[in-house]
């Protein structure tokens, strides 16, 4: 589903050149959930940004559904709109929109009919257990409720890939468990592939596979639930740079 070969990314902070990724390779099959772990600065978010087509400035190859990701900005935007959902640590809901409208927003961009949009949004809002809160704005919802809206927003367009950056970092344990279960259950229903950057052991325990990044390299690749197919790529793959 998602394959990346020798991904390298570096940037400058003043006179220093920082190598955020130094040749990371791997593949994730469709429907899998992979947790990316590692200390701060290890390259988790950089890898997420590249895989989510948010960052076009990298070297290496990236394939989504066996097709090389385009370099053209418009094509990448279209691809994000059609195939990728995002869940952010701070939820990033649009403040002036209600929960319902926030979930509806990706479908508006897809140009679906009103009836189709309302059907899907109602199902998804119901699925995350917020049917009674659909008309509330983000500032009227708790953190957990906001993250559930964010999950609904990410999954409502039935994306092939969901990118989640520390989705439980701002939540208490009970809420984090709910959110994790929700992501897993709804993800299975929709058939999406999850790539999740997290420090949270509650999260990694529920993912199919856990990959650990260290200094821009893939340091460890564990099958979290069972020893099935290789999810992440070879640990030793290192970019020449």
């Amino acid at each position: 589903m998602l394959r990346f070969d020798h991904l390298c990314k570096s940037y400058r902070t003043g006179p220093t050149e920082v190598h955020a990724l130094r040749g990371v390779s791997g593949s994730i099959p469709a429907g899998a959930s992979v947790a990316l772990c590692g200390p701060s600065g290890s390259g988790k978010t950089t890898l997420l940004n590249i895989c989510g087509l948010l960052d076009p400035s990298y070297t290496g190859e990236l394939y989504l559904n066996d097709r090389k990701v385009p370099t053209d900005a418009r094509a990448r935007t279209r691809m994000r709109r059609d195939r990728i959902g995002f869940i952010f640590q701070c939820y990033n809901l649009i403040p002036v929109m209600t929960a319902f409208e926030n979930v509806e927003y990706p479908l508006l961009m897809l140009g679906l009919s009103k009836a189709e949009r309302y059907k899907r949004v109602a199902e998804m809002i119901d699925g995350v257990g917020l049917a009674k809160h659909a008309c509330l704005r983000p500032d009227q919802l708790s953190g957990g409720q906001q993250q559930r809206v964010a999950i609904a927003r990410a999954l409502v367009k039935q994306p092939k890939l969901v990118i989640a950056d520390e989705p439980t970092a701002n939540l208490d344990t009970a809420t984090a468990h709910q959110v994790i279960d929700l992501m897993r259950d709804l993800g299975r229903e929709v058939g999406s592939t999850f790539l999740i950057a997290t420090h949270d052991p509650r999260m990694t325990g529920r993912c199919d596979r856990v990959c650990t990044l260290h200094d821009g390299l893939l340091a460890e690749d564990q099958d979290a639930l069972e020893n099935e197919s290789t999810v992440c790529g070879p640990k030793e793959a290192v970019c020449a740079g």
Partner: protein, 405 residues
């Protein structure tokens, strides 16, 4: 509609800043409308005055305004009664007034001075309304005065110079159309002020037939056509030019030099003022939108991440800015309308303009088409400011926008 509602909600998010920006747009709109309303009122007043002074259309001999006459009324109109009757058949014509322009010497027996005279029919004072500020006595009524003498109405400067008041006698001396000198004794019937010091020192009115007697002619200088509606002047001009091919038909604006000077001056003054105010709104909205875009950088990043195109994101800010501009324009128009009403109630007088001794009421004309045009311009300026700010905001990469604090 949905995006407009979101735009309104976004505007309300930062109430104080939005209110300040709306007020700046409203004050600019009101200032432009009040300034241009004052200019419009002045233009219309001067146009009405010019048309009232000489008529909407002036019919003359073709050489009257061009050639220098060797003797009085050389290029005058003869046998005008038939033409006058013909013109009066037109339902749009209110009056047709003959006039004689002449000059000569005026004497009280002790002192002599020059004058500029107008021979008019008594209807002149009825048709033109209170165009003279009568200081003493009465206006001409076409009848003889005491002792069967003809009557004269004199401007205040000339009357003071001759040391006369209503009831006093005076002699006018002028050149006849044959080139001879002729003098007639008059009785002063009234003293007036035109409001223009230069005219007040020289001008006088006599009855048309008396002027003809003084000049020993049956001719007149001009025939002034007064219409019910000044707006029909151009239409009637075309018609009369076809109807009277051997005569010259001149519209009021051809000789309204003061009107054109004031219009030209005011257009420059208020035009510049308008440009400054529009720039003020542009920079103010630019500042507001820049702050808004900066504050909502993460939101822009989120929308971009979800696949919103740059134009879709910019559209949201444009709607917000247009909303601010629209509300500001409506509010500004209301303020201008309120000021218009207030000035009508207060009867505030402006000091006399240069070359005049009469003050005039400060009024503004509220023009709906102008308000719409200015409102649309301000809204467009707001949109341009938003485009500028939003475009800069959207140039940031998605990852930078998402990590923006």
């Amino acid at each position: 509609m949905r995006w407009l509602i979101f735009a309104c909600l976004n505007v309300i998010r930062n109430r104080r800043r939005s209110l300040l920006t709306v007020m700046i747009a409203a004050i600019a709109m009101a200032a432009i409308l009040v300034g241009s309303g004052f200019a419009l009122f002045t233009y219309h007043s001067l146009a009405q005055k010019a048309a009232r002074d000489d008529g909407n259309l002036i019919i003359t001999n073709p050489h009257f305004f061009v050639k220098i006459a060797e003797h009085p009324l050389q290029y005058g109109l003869d046998h005008f009664d038939g033409l006058r009757s013909k013109l009066l058949q037109d339902n749009d014509v209110r009056a047709v007034l003959p006039r004689i322009h002449f000059s000569g010497l005026v004497s009280n027996g002790d002192k002599t001075s020059t004058f500029i005279g107008l021979g008019v029919e008594p209807d002149e004072f009825r048709v033109k309304g209170p165009f003279l500020d009568l200081l003493a006595g009465k206006v001409l009524n076409g009848k003889q005065g005491k002792d069967g003498l003809p009557e004269v109405v004199m401007a205040k400067g000339l009357a003071r110079s001759m040391n006369v008041k209503p009831g006093d006698g005076i002699t006018l001396l002028s050149t006849t159309t044959d080139g001879a000198l002729n003098a007639i004794d008059f009785v002063v019937r009234g003293v007036y002020s035109t409001g223009v010091p230069a005219l007040d020192n020289r001008q006088l009115y006599v009855n048309l037939d008396t002027a003809q007697s003084l000049l020993a002619t049956k001719k007149i200088s001009t025939l002034s056509v007064y219409l019910f509606d000044i707006g029909k002047t151009a239409e009637k001009l075309t018609r009369y030019q076809k109807l009277l091919p051997r005569l010259l038909v001149t519209p009021w604006w051809k000789h309204a030099f003061y009107y054109h000077s004031v219009r030209s001056l005011y257009n420059r003054i208020f035009g510049l003022l308008g440009i400054i105010l529009v720039l003020l709104v542009f920079f103010s909205i630019s500042n507001t939108m820049s702050m808004t875009v900066t504050e909502r950088t993460r939101e822009i990043g989120t929308m971009s991440a979800m696949g919103a195109s740059r134009s879709e994101i910019i559209r949201n800010f444009v709607f917000e800015s247009a909303f601010i501009g629209g509300v500001g324009s409506i509010l500004g128009a209301l303020i201008a309308a309120l000021m218009n009403w207030g000035l009508l109630q207060l009867d505030f007088q402006m000091p006399p303009p240069p070359g005049s001794s009469q003050s005039y009421p400060l009024l503004i004309e509220f023009s709906v088409p102008l308000a719409v045009a200015v409102g649309l311009t301000l809204t467009l300026v707001c949109i341009l400011a938003a485009l500028n700010a939003a475009h800069r905001g959207c140039r940031m990469s998605v990852t930078d926008a998402l990590s923006h604090v």
